[in-house]
Amino acid sequence: MTQTLKSTRFGDVELADEAIVDFPSGLIGLQGRRYALLPHGKDGVFVWLHSMDDPDLALPLTKPWSFFPRYEVELSDSEAERIGVSDPSEAEVFVTVRAAEEAENFSANLRAPIIISGGRGFQVINDADDAPVRAPLFAQPVG
């Protein structure tokens, strides 16, 4: 019914089985396929995508539209077929966050969003034109 997530950041966290997300293809370049979403702070702007199998592996995520209102995700037919989600608006969409000492140096990867639906997660390649891998989170580019 519950599983224990072991974390070097947060200690032991008890999670319901339903909270665990299976990434059949893992995350690009990272190991493991079982992850869980842990809320960060009270306002829910950030969540941690935490490995169930590696206590040290966790990535901060955020929902892109609170920072990038015009953000779009376009999937190729083969990518949509692979993940079984043709319309990303029907799934939960997150982007990874690169943290930094200074808030203005925080960035999000708009090119490779993470799409979670029905207990399964995929990191996909976004074919939309305006989707840099390092989009400033707090300092919007001018123009």
């Binding site: 990874t96 090119r111 390649i125």
Partner: protein, 76 residues
């Protein structure tokens, strides 16, 4: 690294279920067709490398702003 010479229309096979075909060669551009099981993601290498680097950089974070700074929707 295994090296092979292929002409347009010829293929290589990886394992039993991945096929890569040279569709067209024009100047210094090669057009490839990849046939793979649906579950196998296929990436352009430079995108895969860039995303892996971002994932690793994201995973290096130990703490986040508390409370997080608001986004651009903040009223001026």
């Amino acid at each position: 690294m295994l090296m092979m010479t292929r002409r347009a229309g010829q293929k290589i096979v990886l394992g039993d279920d991945i096929t890569i075909e040279v569709v067209e060669v024009a100047g210094n551009t090669v057009r490839l067709g990849v046939t793979a099981p649906r579950s196998v993601p296929v990436y352009r290498e430079e995108i895969w490398t860039a995303v892996r680097a971002e994932n690793e950089a994201a995973a290096a974070a130990t703490q986040l702003p508390e409370p997080p700074a608001p986004g651009p929707q903040r009223a001026a």
